[in-house]
Amino acid sequence: MVCARFDVAPREKTRRSQRRTRSKIKIEHTSEMLLPVQVTLQKQGASAPPTTGVLVKTGDTIQMALNPGLLNGTIPLTSYPLQTSQVNWQYREMNGDGTFTAWTNFQATPEGPEYNYSTTVGGIYQVQAIITVNGASETWQYNRQQDDPYGSDSDGNFNPIYAKGQPDYFGVVDSQWQIDVRNQARALLGSSAYSEAGSLPPIYSGGPTFAGDDKCNVFVYQMCNAAGDAPVGLIRSHKGVSLPPLTIDWFDGPGAWLLPWVATPLPIPGWASLGQPHWPEPGYVVSRPAYNPVTGQITGGHAGILDYDGAWINAGSVTVNRYPNITPSGNSYNNPEHCTYHTP
């Protein structure tokens, strides 16, 4: 638990540097006021904040509070030492290139220590609270409460944006299929079933097992079909073998492709490409190309399924993990990324 410390006497500037960690929730009234602050979000009706991220459908309500105790009832709102007028809640949305919109107030007027937000637009959002006491303001962002256990790639490189204390997100989807696809993918996090060195059971009777092949596109194909409400067909045929969409089909963008038989991206019936300049949503299929560093030709690519926070749930060379993320994070996954979504 982290406490915000405010002098009772008015001060002219923010005193964020005086934050400190406390082992338990405690409210003290001394010459200074210590506020137990841990911005918390959960879907209305949930018993507790989920450890797998907040993901809701448009129309659902998200409860946000300055402290978990306000949501679970251990701290009555009436005893929390801040008035409605002292707390503003803001959000910003992730763009398709991993940047964000500007911070925007949920409401024109302060919402108070606890606020229920009825979602209206799909997307991936960050949240922060602005607390103002005696003219001094502090910003408290909704942050991760633990290191993401699936935030490392197959080589063990941990993406630092998934560390405890880094900004967390909430995701909003327009349709149930997005939650279903995302949940199917999440269920396989940590699995090595799609490792490049291994083979899969034939994806259909007599079909390929992809032994020794990269399987990121097969992972996407199987997760979408397992969800049941976002089917993907076997759109490719090569040497007499029917195949799922390749990463280039999900990317559906410009570029000189190296292999003649995959030179042109094929349409995926029931799915539509959005390109990059779009607000991404959880459950979308995300993809991008890989380039030959000398010729600039596209030699392959990668595909995954977007999680609530912009992470790609993807089959890496060994494990299914969440290492890549849409946000430019120093991990080289901020090449142009395209999103594809299932059409009703």
Binding site: E196, Y291, P293, G296, T299, G300, H302, G330, S332
Partner: protein
């Protein structure tokens, strides 16, 4: 000579020795790339930050390696001591002309024998992905290839898996496997090395 002077002299010698080990002065962009990047966890384990216009930091890195690969390998312990840094260099040298690529692999064998390159990293080099995947197997009768593969066999005495692969390369068996894979995927097979 006083004890103090001996200490100063020792320090100077150490400095000179260390200077010779880092004789290659890398451009800052290459240094930064080696310090901050690692191979992507996806098909082909590609180099990060490459693009179609050849302007990415990955494209710049590869161009530098292709022009300075010999000096870089000579100084590998100083400029890329970590396995993940060495793999960036190894992935880049796969774009060398084939004969130079064979020389580079021989240097990696030297570095393995010297303890600079770990066996796992050398194995990574042997299993080149692109564009030289299959170069050794396709040219299994080439004298330089034979000598290189025999060196590799001596460097992996207890690794039955890599010994199997190397044996298959020398026998010509691996050529058929790699050719079939290339045919299945319609990828361009590695070049046939010209006679020396």
């Amino acid at each position: 000579m006083s004890f103090k002077n001996i200490l100063v002299l020792t320090a100077c010698v150490a400095l000179l020795t260390s200077h010779s080990a880092i004789a290659l002065d890398l451009p800052s962009s290459v240094k930064t790339y080696l310090q901050t990047k690692h191979l992507l966890d996806e098909s082909g384990r590609p180099l990060p930050d490459c693009n179609a216009t050849l302007t990415g930091s990955g494209n710049v890195f590869v161009q530098y390696v292709l022009s300075n690969w010999s000096a870089m390998l000579d100084n590998l312990a100083a400029i890329a001591p970590a396995p993940q840094q060495q793999k960036l260099v190894i992935r880049a040298i796969e774009y060398l002309p084939p004969r130079d690529y064979l020389k580079a692999l021989n240097k990696l064998c030297d570095l393995n024998a010297a303890g600079v390159v770990k066996s796992e990293t050398l194995e990574f080099a042997v299993k080149a992905r692109s564009p030289e995947n299959g170069l050794l197997s396709k040219n299994y009768q080439d004298t330089q290839v034979i000598q290189l593969v025999q060196r590799l066999q001596a460097l992996f005495p207890k690794d039955s898996k890599i010994q199997g692969l190397l044996g298959d390369i020398l026998s010509g068996k691996q050529k058929a496997v790699d050719q079939k894979k290339a045919d299945d995927e319609d990828v361009t097979a590695p070049v046939t090395l010209p006679a020396q």
